[in-house]
Subunit: 118 residues, 2 copies
Amino acid sequence: MTDAPPDATSRLHRLRASIDNLDAALVHLLAERFRCTQEVGELKARAGMPPADPAREAYQIERLRGLADESGLDPHFAEKFLNLVIDEVIRNHEAIKRSARPGHPDTSHAGGRPGHQA
Amino acid sequence: MTDAPPDATSRLHRLRASIDNLDAALVHLLAERFRCTQEVGELKARAGMPPADPAREAYQIERLRGLADESGLDPHFAEKFLNLVIDEVIRNHEAIKRSARPGHPDTSHAGGRPGHQA
């Protein structure tokens, strides 16, 4: 498909090997992040805290913008990435809340205040 | 805003500290990934290779699905994440191609075949 010089093809293969390594690291870190947010969701459902926390999300977005800036990552992309992550987290929290309705063993600490979580 | 038990609040703070550490690691790995894809874009523009490579992208999506599966990350989220990354990469490649039109010093290896990159 391409008649690129051999040097370019070889350099492309080396860069792609680095990208593949970074992707593996990213996926494993994301998996670890989701283990944490999963636990946050369960904790909030048990304690009767609301799934979404706009102040925390605003703090995270502001902090990520700063980190993106100092690391050379495009801040616009960093924010899109964080919005994707936060959307997923809120969806997880909502799913946990639905599965932790009164009658479910995990709601024992919530003291029957499901309305407080809305 | 919340009358959650102190244990829950303390556990929430510890989980959020882990999430913040993971986010810092993620942003720095993403920045490194973008350094690589930036170089891929410049290399492709110089060598007259097309910015998008559907076979490579299909390989990456398939591989990431497998990694997501073995690491416990939701595969649907992994794919959304990868699509976000690939969209951004293609946009970068297109921007590099636009800035490397004939007359720009970096196009000297492309041999005046801009149509080949479309």
